[in-house]
Symmetry: none
């Protein structure tokens, strides 16, 4: 079964709202091993909705349509379904009564428009609404099927789980389809997407032939570069085993070539990993930031329970704040020694076990003779100091974001080496 998602609404084409429905549905389908090869967005226009449906029916086995089932004049998914099925719309008296009842129960007058929600193409099956007034529809067309769901995410998700997913799974079974799909994401920091791809090219080719596990790369800014393994199999146990096996091989290749650059798995973030390493040792952290201007601290406080290990930080943007508050020697502030002094200074000032610091040139101009993108990271772990020098590409926001993840990664590696 290949399912195509068609999201209906002019607001999508104008960029006024993000299409969260397609992403949510895609994730749910993938989790159940149901393939989806295409998505479409189309506006509230009869001819174009019909064209989008026909296009989807030609290349997919099932359609999930989101939106256009509301009561107003721009809700025309029902009419488009009627055209594609070549069946007239019929008004269901029971649904009419149900809609009237819902309005009177809320003591509200019912606009006549609302009765349009009782219309459905002849032959369609209704999905009763439990969270709104719009019924969903299941429209069979020979061996293919169109599911129409309301665009309100909260209504859509409930109907999908209750009525669409079971129906899709039954159709899969009837076609003799078995199997599930699952993914594992390895997050890395410290090399490029292309270098990773090259190091794993052997696996890539090995997997392309077999097809049981696939591999993909995704550069995700401050979340690092992701390596995604996706496995198919008859059941969850088999898929898990395939993922485990492939993860082991991929980890070995990456570590052999680049060292300890895999910092997290799946939804874990860099700050989660640092938080775990600190909390498990009962240690606390302080940060001193110059060019990142609070970015590192603002990421750290997003971790649940940060108050257990995060003391706080100093944004020492002006040089005099570095000298007066953090005890940095008066002189150039973009240097390795300034970074180390910032770390030791903020550690003492806030009474933390460890501290990291960042000073550097965000650009666009040079500073202290250093080119934009030159960044010094300082570290003080229980009195033992260290530093690293970065040369980062990009404009100011990019240099800042990369500096933040690089500093956290420097701390992560230091903690991993510290018993």
């Amino acid at each position: 079964m290949r399912v195509e998602i068609v999201a209906v609404g002019t607001e999508l084409l104008l960029g006024q709202i993000a299409d969260t429905n397609s992403q949510w549905l895609a994730e749910r389908l993938a989790a159940h091993g149901i393939s989806s090869h295409f998505h479409q967005h189309v506006g509230d226009n009869h001819e174009r909705i019909v064209l989008a449906f026909r296009t989807a029916l030609a290349r997919s086995d099932a359609l999930i349509v989101c939106g256009g089932l509301g009561p107003t004049q721009d809700d025309i998914t029902r009419e488009a379904l009627s055209a594609v099925m070549n069946q007239p719309l019929e008004r269901d008296d029971d649904v009419v009564e149900e809609i009237r009842r819902m309005f009177s129960a809320r003591n509200r007058e019912m606009p006549e428009n609302n009765l349009r929600q009782a219309d459905a193409p002849r032959g369609a099956t209704r999905i009763a609404p439990t969270r709104g007034t719009a019924p969903g529809l299941i429209c069979a067309l020979g061996q293919k099927v169109i599911y129409a769901l309301p665009g309100v995410p909260y209504e859509l998700s409930e109907m999908f789980e209750r009525a669409v997913l079971p129906d899709l799974e039954e159709r899969q079974r009837q076609r003799g389809h078995r199997g599930v799909i699952a993914s594992r994401v390895l997050k890395t920091w410290g090399t490029s997407e292309s270098a990773l791809a090259e190091a794993l090219s052997g696996r890539f080719e090995a997997l392309t032939g077999g097809g049981e596990v696939t591999i993909a790369f995704l550069a995700s800014g401050i979340e690092g570069i992701k390596v995604r393994l996706t496995a198919r199999g008859d059941d969850l146990a088999q898929v898990e085993e395939r993922l485990r096996g492939e993860e082991g091989r991929v980890r070995e290749l990456i570590t052999e070539r680049f060292g300890d650059i895999i910092f997290a798995v799946d939804n874990q973030t860099m700050e989660d990993v640092v938080a775990d390493a600190l909390a498990s040792r009962g240690w606390s952290l302080a940060v001193a930031e110059s060019l990142t201007g609070g970015l590192i601290a603002s990421r750290l406080v997003n971790v649940a329970g940060a108050s257990n290990w995060f003391r706080g930080g100093v944004v020492s943007y002006a040089s005099s704040v570095k000298f007066d508050l953090l005890g940095v020697d008066v002189g150039p502030v973009v240097s390795a020694s300034a970074a180390q002094q910032m770390a030791s200074g903020v550690r003492a000032l806030l009474g933390a076990t460890c501290a990291i610091s960042v000073t550097g040139v965000a650009g666009p101009k040079e500073q202290d003779g250093h080119r934009p993108g030159t960044v010094f990271v300082g570290l003080d772990v229980a009195g033992s100091v260290d530093h690293t020098t970065l040369h980062l590409p990009g404009d100011r926001p990019r240099v800042r974001a990369y500096s933040a993840i690089s500093a956290l990664d420097f701390l992560r590696r230091a903690l991993a080496r510290t018993p």
Copy 2:
């Protein structure tokens, strides 16, 4: 010109990432009066990408393709373009040299894979990359055109503005398309989208009839709630006049009902406005942040020239940092007096003219008897202190983001009242 957006990437079909590129592009196209009737998502599969392109070419005049131009094996947009154009891929030696140069400038070894980025179908025009290594492509097919852009949003947006938009506008002109469209965005902070819509309902109806200017609302998180006026006309002068007239009426209605809630226009941000107010007075600013954890400081340093007026800040996440470093009275730290003491404390500590501070409950649990979303903002302008209390909706990240913009808005209003 009808433009179709085709976003390429298996991660979209698996629901692993949100398609922010299509939304961003759709908004930019709409702002320039260019229609878009369909969007598609397709995975990293040659046959299916080719099918998606052919489908789009059949129903649209131009395609903007996002993604699949990277250096790795799963980046196959170039091959699909070659198939659709029926032209072989050719490697450009100048681009090869450029890619080698970029790697050697960063002292990094170039994986052989990266040279694939120098490939393009014969007859295609390259868009030079300024923010990454992937060139974009402009591929003419008779009267139609395909623009291929990298999927990294930061690279995509720059190439779109520099190369795609001017080319699309030129094609519109060649087709005899006349008339221009322009927008003005008024950014507000301090009321709800529905209250704004109600206050402007008279204008909304007046404009719906005429059609020369339209009005739309867009809740944009920490950028506030935007009121967008869009005017069409024969030339720029006419459009500007229409916008000016309508902006005056809308400003009057908003200010009459809600006071000074319009903080910026178009691309101006809250921090830009605060920066101007400080710089014009020759004043400096310091911040003390608890629940926002550096978020305010990290926004302020994004303003060009921030070092002229931004001293820095203290992220006083642990209570003892508030007591010891900022001189807050030992006791409950979620209170109006703690907020004021934080502001005065950081102002003195960093030697600034003004200071703002934030303390409160991000949630999900209560603190000091206050419900999640209760936030106190402190202010010290040249020794004159003030505070405000907020009750914000949402989860932790939302409460933090709203606290940050609210604190900056509190400072903005205070500066506007100060001669």
